[in-house]
């Protein structure tokens, strides 16, 4: 058993080849992300992601940010388990009626200073769900929003772009 375990550990040289970021603008973006977060947040930005009724595409893109290709942890960005540990609330979804209270409670549990980012087209104004009885047409109707990241869903690159710009105070 131990032999087999050791074998597994040391055999990991034959790793999967990761799809590399070859695009120059994407590379520049990642360098900028590092610089901004170092400067503004002292090398650490903690995000609490809240799904307030999204279709889950935004969630999967947030998860993709932690895959070996984007690996945002290397910039000090991380997703945390509790709002009490968070600098940023990243809210997705049009805020379904049943999630209003949970979102408010999560917001209240986040220590100030805090930023709220509305992520995705439906978080902005309800998107395709706008007008439905079961949604509230956007995060700003429930909690104050500091910045928006658009896209349905936003790509991992545009998520990084958006987070960097909002954190640096470049967009309101």
């Amino acid at each position: 058993m131990i032999e087999k375990l050791l074998y597994n550990i040391f055999r990991s040289k034959e790793a999967v080849s990761y799809p590399e970021i070859s695009d120059a603008s994407e590379k520049a973006l990642l360098a900028e992300a590092k610089e901004t977060i170092d400067k503004v947040f002292g090398r650490s930005l903690r995000i609490r992601q809240v799904d307030a009724g999204s279709c889950n595409a935004c969630e999967w893109e947030c998860i993709a940010l932690t895959n070996p290709v984007y690996d945002v942890q290397r910039f000090g960005i991380d997703f945390v388990a509790s709002p009490r540990h968070a600098d940023v609330l990243l809210v997705t979804g049009p805020v379904s009626v049943a999630m209003v209270e949970a979102l408010k409670k999560t917001y209240d549990a986040t220590p100030t200073p805090r930023l709220v980012i509305a992520c995705g087209d439906c978080a902005k104004d309800g998107g395709v769900y706008r007008g439905s009885y079961a949604v509230t047409d956007g995060v700003h109707n429930i909690v104050p929003v500091d910045g928006y990241i658009t896209g349905c869903p936003p790509t991992p690159a545009s998520l990084i772009r958006g987070i960097v710009d909002i954190v640096a105070g470049r967009i309101k």
């Binding site: 999967v16 595409a57 509790s82």
Partner: protein
Amino acid sequence: MHPANETYKMVSEDELVGKAAALMKGRAILRTMFACDERELDGTLKLYAVFSVHGEDRFETLVQDVKDYGEGPTFMSITHAVPAAHWYEREIKDMFGITPDGHPDTRGLVLHGMYPEVARPLMRDRSHEELRRLIDLTREDPYKYMEVKGEGVYEIPVGPVHAGIIEPGHFRFSAVGETIYYLDPRLFYTHKGIEKQFETVGFLRGVALAERVSGCSSFSHGAAYCHAVERMAGISLPVKASVTRTLLIELERLYNHIGDIGNMCAGTGFAVGYAKGASIKETLMRLNERLTKSRYLRGVNTVGGVEADVLKHADDILLTLDRVKEEYKSFMEFLLSSISHIERLEGTGILSKSIAHSLGATGVAARGSGIGDDIRRAHPHLHYDRVVFETHTHAKGDVLARMMVRADEAGCSFSIIEALLETPYKGLLKTDPGQVSPRRQALGYVEGPRGSIFYWVKSGDKGEPLRVKVRSASYCNWPLLPFAASGNIVPDFPLVNKSFNLSYSGCDI
């Protein structure tokens, strides 16, 4: 009017239970059950129960006029004869105010406390504005969680906001020591009223909504919706569109299955495995983006065909998949030789075949418990009758079995895509959908990554949408989770949950 492989049988109130029980005895599968407000057509509320007949490409739908004897509309619950109907009937109560008489569980399902009982959102004369006025966020939730009593039993409430990047839902565990005795999941936090929205946007624009029922099954949902509308309107799909849809459904299955296998590693704390799975998935997402400008394959489906000529990228697809196949092979070898990981999966979260069968499990969850239901085979559609593939089942019903079903199916998807791209296809990408005739109805279906997806559509007197019923795979499989979780230790729950990897949004609709 309806397609040739569907039969609609009017039954009386007293006949429904008996007819449904007889169908079950003949090994039919309940695909969906719903109500439809047809008062504007013939003054009735109707109840539909759609079954797949065993061994035939045929759907038998039982239809009943709902009666009201002065105390509100009711029907005889079929849940005792067809356990798979239990959620559908509670949903019908919430959405139409029709009471399933004799249902063992009288709690609400879809609508939480803020909706008053009179809301009945799917009644045709209820507008979105009216409903918004009826919703009261301060109203107490009457929902009672199932309580387990006894020495040493304690409750662990989790959610709706979870620790990870996951969709919202509440889990109430009743545990004894470390062992889960009972789990009561409370879902529908992401209910967005999509079925009602379908009625207002029109059949053609409904595709964008269908694509946003569940993000990681965007394409399958879009395809199933289009399939339903096309069957209803009698549109025959151009070959190229049919091939493109089949191909993209398999690509969607591939990125989900490989990603899910990787995610299960996160459930055992096996970081290397998780990273490898995530990396292969990213390669596939980037292929999706090159092919369709969307990582989630959105915007391709349209009623009558497809918008993008994906097949012209055949070289890119084959080249990328060749590489992915190699990586995937070494990834699986790596996982299967990692004893510490595999040991955690073996014997964990067992879903018995009998429970899976009686509650109407679908997709990976069913096939991991030895049920070979695959609608690509049972009800051939698109190009599935022209490619050779196998339906893989594993009998043990544990987390490992569900992983192996995914592994085998991913292998299958590679070969289906390769077979599709062997010959070039000529012709149009789409046909003009034209006008939908009034009073028509049809089912549409696709075997998505998590299992079968059904849409049922009906047009009104002007050919407008009267009802669009969405039945996602996750809706069938969520009620299975408590059975698979019972008897396991609480720390294994995330792993069991990941092995099903159900969509919350796809269930809550």
